[in-house]
């Protein structure tokens, strides 16, 4: 997971180096963007949330933590908090970013637009299906099952013990099995 120079980036952040922030964004922007999409089911919201995540990273740069030499778990932790607040109050506060000048829409082709709409619909269906889970279990599911973090990384991201991650994920999976298994099959 650790990439060359990442500890240097973490040091750079702590030393107020804007280039370190930009490099971190270059390196992990897409991963955080997709994590936020999986939390919101909306590409545009994911984009704004990603910007918010990295602005928060800068705001809390003195507290940045590296887990096994990587800032990624900490980044996911910030992203999880941002998205949690986002889903609570739907865009309160960070919508200020909408005031930024926006570029003209990219010349999307019709099929590209259709694809984005389709992926959003699919993600929202997935989110609706896991909506029955308690938020803490949803977050662990998102980090481990969807974003591919190890238990240890997810624990670092959520600042909880590894055992808590295991138990939350286990409970989440059990609940989802219950939810997705037809009643007749369960009774057998």
């Amino acid at each position: 997971m650790t990439e060359l120079g990442e500890e240097g980036l973490v040091d750079g952040l702590r030393r107020d180096d804007p280039e370190a922030l930009a490099a971190l964004f270059d390196r992990y922007g897409d991963r955080i963007y997709n994590h936020c999409f999986r939390a919101t089911g909306d590409w545009a919201e994911a984009e704004d949330a990603t910007a918010t995540v990295f602005l928060e990273v800068w705001r809390h740069r003195r507290r940045v933590q590296a887990h096994d030499g990587s800032a990624l778990p900490w980044l996911y932790g910030v992203a999880t908090n941002v998205c949690r607040n986002l889903t609570r109050s739907r865009r309160r506060g960070w919508r200020a970013l909408a005031a930024l000048p926006r570029p003209a829409p990219e010349p999307d082709h019709a099929d590209r637009v259709a694809e984005r709409v389709s992926t959003e619909a699919r993600m929202r269906a997935v989110l609706a299906a896991v909506d029955e889970l308690p938020p803490r279990e949803r977050e662990v599911l998102g980090l481990v099952a969807w974003s591919g973090l190890s238990y240890e990384q997810a624990a670092a991201a959520l600042d909880v013990p590894v055992g808590t991650v295991r138990s939350r994920l286990s409970r989440a999976r059990a609940r989802l099995t219950d939810l997705t298994t037809p009643r007749g099959d369960r009774d057998e």
Partner: protein, 270 residues
């Protein structure tokens, strides 16, 4: 719904990426300036506090020695000790060797090209600053100032779009909080073009025509360079950079959007 597999990952769009990146850098630079101001203020406030405490203490000691209003004369029992307090041994910090500069833009053009157009070869050099590098049908512009700036790779045959005319922006500290803002753009002149003129109009009103140079392979390249001063204000509130292109008598005008079209570099931020 039994399939709980999310859709596959997708990369963020280039324009969105550039916009967010530029905003992050702007915020970070502003935040750093504020932070420095705070850091400078802290010692001043601390020094002032020490002076106040020292003054009050001196007054209290003088008052004690004078036996003012029934206060017990003599040294303050719990405050002073006659035992010499051993001071920690003076340590001389050995200056650690400065680590090599690994920040983006610290290398020369060839080194910085590695992640953008690896293996590209020098095609033309405009001056000590700007050069063009080509691999196959793509090229990158390399501009060396306090750091090396690599533009995103573009087709050698220029597209009829604003992407062809994007500028890189480099803020070079000029002292007293001001910056020199260096903007550079360039590309290949379309093959077979009988007349090709490119002219940029910058927010300060300066009109800069492109200069051209012919490379070893006979291809002609154009470059526009403009330096202005900035006191750190929000340039996005100013007029946009415009580009007038004339190709064989046909004229087109492009307007560069702030951030997305003014941050053409690929190897570091604006």
């Amino acid at each position: 719904m039994s399939d709980l597999t999310p859709p596959p990952d997708e990369p963020m769009g280039d324009q969105s990426r550039a916009r967010i990146r530029a905003e992050l850098l702007r915020t970070a630079h502003e935040g750093r300036a504020e932070s420095r101001t705070r850091r400078r203020l802290v010692p001043v406030i601390a020094a002032a506090a020490v002076l106040v405490v020292a003054g009050v203490t001196a007054w209290a000691v003088q008052a004690g020695e004078g036996g003012v209003d029934g206060a017990p004369a003599g040294p303050l029992a719990s405050t002073w000790s006659t035992d010499p307090t051993p001071s920690p041994p003076a340590t001389r910090e050995t200056p650690s060797p400065r680590p090599p500069d690994q920040r983006a833009g610290a290398g020369d053009c060839r080194a910085e090209l590695a992640n953008t157009l690896s293996g590209a070869e020098l095609a033309a050099r405009v001056d000590d600053h700007t050069s063009f590098w080509v691999r196959g049908d793509r090229f990158v512009l390399c501009d060396v100032r306090d750091r090396t700036t690599i533009h995103r790779a573009l087709p050698v045959t220029p597209a009829d779009s604003v992407e062809t005319f994007r500028v890189s922006t480099r803020y070079v500290p000029a002292g007293r909080g001001a910056f020199d803002v260096i903007r550079v753009a360039g590309g290949a002149v379309p093959e077979g073009a009988m007349a090709y003129d490119v002219e940029y109009t910058f927010p300060d009103g300066t009109v800069v025509p492109a200069e051209t140079v012919t490379g070893a392979d006979g291809r002609t390249w154009w470059r526009v360079e403009h330096t202005s001063s900035s006191d750190g204000g929000n340039e996005m509130s100013g007029p946009p950079i415009t580009v007038r292109v004339s190709l064989s008598g046909v004229q087109r005008t492009y307007r560069l959007d702030w951030a997305s079209d003014t941050c053409a570099q690929a190897n570091h931020g604006c």
